[in-house]
Amino acid sequence: MKVTSLFSGKPMHYSARSTLAAIILAISSFFVCSAADIRSGKQVYDSTCLACHAAGILQAPKLGTRQDWVEREKQGFEVLLSHALKGYKNMPAKGGNPAIKDEEIENAIIYMLVSAGFDQYAKPSVTSDAEKTTTSKTVPDKQVTTAKTTTSKTVPDKQVTTAKTTTSKKVPVKPAKAAKKTSSNVNQFNRLMQPPAKWNLAPTSDGIHDPENAGTHLLQEPRQAFEALTRSKSGNRVDWVKALENSEIFPRYERLSDTAKPVVMDLNIVREVKGSMPDVVYPHKQHTEWLDCSNCHPAIFIPQKGANQISMAAILLGQKCGVCHGKVAFPISECRKCHSKQKDATAEVKN
């Protein structure tokens, strides 16, 4: 069915309307159901915790690394939980995302503990049916078998007591929270922005590589590559110019030579711009560190003063500076990196 009338405003066929209504219903019912659910430990981990706990940033104990967890686990689950909820040392409260529910944090800790080999935390659920579905979903294969055997036999005392204490303490709190039923995202900041957990993801989870493909698993993770590089607020979250200046990277200037030096030209071009925006200073220096003259001249920029019409509209469309900026060089959002020269104060008064 073609619903071309979406924007033209022409009346739609009746069947089209009913289908639309059905779609809306389906979507909304799906969303309402999923909103009430508590996410599994893995889901929570993947959404937030992995930002630090995957690579061990700021001394965070790593997922699946038992030695990182042994001492922490000894303090007891309640201590771990309170650290995660309220924050502790470098660990921000709830990993910096207040939208995560307490129960979800609990699940995430369990997920990480189980990953580090503390199988006793693998949740034996109330009903056997529920257990099958939850464990098979959240726990890797190995643990499923161990969990099954322990539950079918007798569960050692320790596990029972820990399970009891956590649940008995939590139970009175849970219904009160569930009763509120307000969207947990209501106080969330920056809904449309990528959270740090989604930056520099591994190729297997970045959405463009096929995780089914064997070669995908051989590729380097950007997060690992960027660890030692000067960070920035946008793009790859790496300040490539600074990384080069500070000798953090040594990109070759010739295909086969480690020693070839670029031909650097140190000449600033100032472009006066309209409106209140500061004038643009174009530095040849940083550009010639990376590029050859022929990359820009004469095809993109005619090397002559006043010969180039440049507008932000053209740049947004990927022309002029936009051939690189907004694609690989720092993005358009870094206004001040180009618009860096304050206009003459006297000129402003005149205007």
């Binding site: 009346p11 790496v238 295909r255 590029l291 993005p331």
Partner: protein, 136 residues
């Protein structure tokens, strides 16, 4: 009146569906699908970040003649095995050679050629989403 309903539907779709399909590709990852889909291969993902750690832009974009346009170079395997484009380095000497097909051909099938996370792909992604909404 109907228009308003439809707009609400679109906003609804964008708000609730886009997070689940959001691509978190690295800034400057180029997906090249000129011929791959038709040939039954996964499209190629070219990561700019990986290459710029090792080479300056000049090496590929001046010396090897790569145009600064996603999909604009009509690269095929014949050119690569003859040492052109990717083949200038991906020859088993500077970098892995053509036998490691699936390390380059690692993208999700059916995806269009584009520079991921670029200003222009964000703009076209919005229109594509609208179009997708229209198709339903």
């Amino acid at each position: 009146m109907l228009n308003r309903h439809i707009n609400i539907l679109i906003i609804f779709c964008v708000l609730f569906f886009s997070p689940s399909v959001t691509v978190n590709a690295e800034y400057g990852d180029v997906l090249i699908n000129n011929y791959s889909d038709a040939a039954g291969m996964r499209p190629v993902v070219f990561p700019h970040w990986f290459h710029r750690i090792r080479f300056r832009c000049k090496v590929c974009h001046a010396d090897l003649g790569f145009k600064m346009e996603a999909g604009g170079n009509q690269i095929n395997m014949l050119k690569i095995i003859d040492g052109e484009y990717c083949g200038a380095c991906h020859n088993g000497e500077v970098a892995w050679s053509v036998e490691s097909c699936d390390v380059c051909h690692s993208g999700k099938s059916g995806e269009p050629t584009q520079v991921h996370q670029s200003t222009s792909s964000k703009l076209t992604a919005t229109t594509r989403k609208k179009d997708a909404g229209n198709q339903e």
